[in-house]
């Protein structure tokens, strides 16, 4: 008699547990179905929209990587090959020789190559660039704006919440399709 009672009690417990498990599985399946509707196969990465970027300098300080995964990129096709490049030289020094103290870049990351009199070509040494955007601001103000900041995906760890995106005052950093991971400036104005 006692045994019988014990058995039925156990069964009742098992039934309750089983139905709870079923309810949990059903709830999870429903959630999965709802999420499947809101999902797609493509991954996303972070990128800076050069049209929104205000060169505030947060990219250099807020990235979790030191130095930042943001680097200056040069759209050579847009470059005016200015005789005095104000992305390269610091304004107001009056001396346009390529001495370190005359250069705008605090890390000497811009290499100036002679092309043809009077043209020089400016290349970014990404191992030195910290993404502060000083050169970008200079080029934007007095040149063609051919220098701009981009998140470099060989360095970016693709944090789920980009720390610079949180700190960006103009909301220029957003997720883009991983298939088109760059928003490069082009001559025709199309990103």
């Amino acid at each position: 008699m006692a045994d019988e009672k014990k058995n039925t009690a156990l069964t009742r417990r098992e039934v309750i547990q089983g139905s709870l498990l079923g309810a949990g599985a059903a709830a999870l399946t429903a959630l999965a179905a709802r999420l499947a509707v809101a999902s797609g196969p493509k991954s996303t990465v972070w990128q800076i929209d050069p049209a929104k970027c205000i060169r505030c300098g947060n990219c250099a300080t807020y990235c979790v990587l030191k130095p930042s995964a943001v680097k200056c990129v040069h759209a050579y096709a847009l470059c005016g090959y200015c005789k005095i490049c104000l992305g390269y030289f610091e304004q107001g020094r009056g001396d346009w020789s390529a001495r370190a103290e005359n250069q705008l870049c605090p890390y000497n990351a811009i290499r100036r190559l002679y092309v043809d009199e009077p043209y020089y070509e400016y290349h970014i040494d990404e191992s030195l660039c910290i993404g502060c955007g000083k050169c970008v601001e200079g080029c934007e103000k007095s040149g063609n704006g051919s220098l701009f900041l981009q998140i470099r995906h060989d360095r970016c760890v693709n944090c789920n919440q980009c720390a610079i995106a949180v700190a960006c005052p103009s909301g220029a950093i957003n997720r883009v399709d991983a298939d088109k991971p760059y928003l490069l400036k082009r001559k025709d104005g199309k990103p």
């Binding site: 709870l20 498990l21 949990g24 599985a25 999870l28 959630l31 999420l35 499947a36 809101a38 999902s39 797609g40 196969p41 493509k42 991954s43 996303t44 990465v45 050069p50 049209a51 929104k52 205000i54 505030c56 979790v64 990587l65 990129v73 040069h74 759209a75 050579y76 096709a77 847009l78 470059c79 005016g80 090959y81 200015c82 092309v115 043809d116 290349h123 007095s142 040149g143 063609n144 704006g145 995906h153 060989d154 760890v157 693709n158 944090c159 789920n160 919440q161 720390a163 103009s170 909301g171 997720r175 991971p181 760059y182 490069l184 400036k185 001559k187 025709d188 104005g189 199309k190 990103p191």
Partner: protein, 438 residues
């Protein structure tokens, strides 16, 4: 959208882009010598899709192995090995992203229509939950890199009063609700932003987050896995599902001799003693239960109303609301200077009215969300009280299905488990005799 509206949008975007970029060509590019080709900017590709599939494969494999090791093989050493591998892979190799805990933000944002949820994130969010339904929180034990970080420093765990952990544990529910609300309203992914160990995985990061991580690890020496037990928002979901799980960690493979060794061995205070004595005053117990049941709707309503009144605190978390408040204050002449954000707004020749309308909408959303958050917290507290009041029948020392992190430490302390492993039943009989005397 119809094809025509696509076309119009494309034209508008192209025109705007041309205005923004094309118009600044102050100096037309010169004719360069023919032998000098124009260089193109390089575009190093992000981590490839195949590697994302590898992440998914590793996640599913470690989850499956952890479950088999914990529930079928009952082998702590293999679990530990899996945990260290996961720490190396998801922690130091993948540097903390992608992870199921942070995926709460992605999922909430995708459900709110913010973006299309990547399939990889979907799998990362769902797979540990599904595993919890089958074998309990084996994800916590052997797959989660945040858990592993704390697990390796849990050297001198002390017993914390049951009531204290129950009260402090409510923080995880609040954290989950806040994280969902902030992601839902597009205010950012709080869980990822305040991930305490990610700066260790990347070996760089903000000093304040590093400090929180170090503090948690220091506390974790004495209070094992503080993040998991008190804060982890994903743990809230896993707790719920592992309560009803099909299989889970059972301390003893056969009968329990009530030696209490497992209870002392558990660093997480997750082992509950048997409940032999029937409650003496059942009338009083029923009365209290009735009161608690009546209290549940009261707490829920009070939480909803209270949180709605306090929702102004959350406005600061949303960048649109912050910017609108700042710009409005600057226009009213409250500040003589500008911030970077307001400067960017003026430079973009943004529409003030549109910004204010957007911010008002966000404020409404945040207030509504806060109401739900308050109701949720009220309900959680009420259910917790009811749960603590109802008597669970336990004949043996058992792991609390919600609190057990499935680490398997108790196995090796259980003399019955050892006897079944070694076949040395004589020692077990001696122990049984000794424990029955005391």
């Amino acid at each position: 959208m119809r094809p025509t509206s696509w076309l119009l949008t494309a034209i508008a975007v192209a025109t705007l882009a041309a205005m923004a970029w094309g118009s600044v060509e102050r100096f037309p590019p010169p004719e360069l010598p023919a032998d000098h080709p124009l260089p193109q900017p390089t575009t190093p590709a992000p981590r490839g899709g195949d590697l994302a599939l590898l992440d998914v494969a590793v996640l599913l494999a470690t989850l499956a192995l952890a479950s088999v090791f914990a529930v079928v093989l009952r082998n702590r050493k293999l679990m530990l090995a899996t945990m260290l591998f996961s720490l190396a892979y998801f922690g130091f190799y993948r540097r903390g992203c992608v992870c199921p805990i942070g995926a709460i933000g992605n999922v909430s944002w995708a459900l709110a229509g913010g973006y299309v949820l990547p399939a990889v994130v979907l799998v990362f969010f769902l797979a540990p939950l599904a595993t919890a339904l089958i074998t309990g929180r084996t994800f916590c034990a052997s797959v989660c890199p945040l858990g592993a970080m704390q697990d390796v420093v849990a050297l001198k765990p002390v017993k914390v009063p049951f009531w204290l952990e129950q009260i402090l544990g409510l923080m995880a529910y609040l954290y989950l609700a806040l994280a969902v609300l902030l992601a839902w309203t597009g205010s950012g992914f709080a869980i990822c932003q305040y991930d305490p160990f990610v700066s260790f995985f990347r070996l760089s990061g903000a000093w304040n987050m590093l400090a929180i991580g170090v503090a948690l690890l220091a506390i974790g020496v004495f209070f094992a896995r503080p993040y998991c037990r008190l804060f982890c928002p994903y743990g809230v979901l896993l707790r719920l599902l592992s309560r009803v799980s099909w299989k889970r960690v059972r301390i003893t493979p056969a009968e329990c001799i009530r030696c209490r060794l497992c209870e002392d061995a558990c660093p997480y205070g997750a082992i509950r003693p048997p409940t032999d004595t029937r409650p003496t005053d059942r009338r009083r117990g029923k009365l209290i239960l009735a009161c608690l049941l009546a209290l549940a709707p009261v707490l829920t309503a009070a939480g909803a109303l209270g949180a709605r009144r306090l929702s102004g605190v959350l406005w600061q978390a949303n960048p649109t609301v912050r910017l609108a408040q700042r710009v409005a204050a600057e226009r009213a002449g409250e500040f003589s200077d500008t911030t970077k954000a307001s400067e960017a707004f003026y430079r973009s020749s943004g529409n003030f009215e549109a910004l204010m309308a957007q911010a008002r909408q966000k404020q409404v959303d945040l207030a509504d969300g806060a109401t739900w958050l308050g109701a949720f917290m009220g309900l959680v507290i009420a259910l917790k009280l009811i749960g603590l009041h109802t008597r669970r029948r336990r004949q043996d020392f058992e792991a609390d299905p919600a609190a057990c992190l499935a680490c398997g430490r108790c196995y090796n302390y259980c003399p019955v488990h050892r006897a079944h492993r070694t076949g040395d039943f004589a020692t077990l009989e001696k122990l049984k005799a000794a424990t029955s005397k005391t």
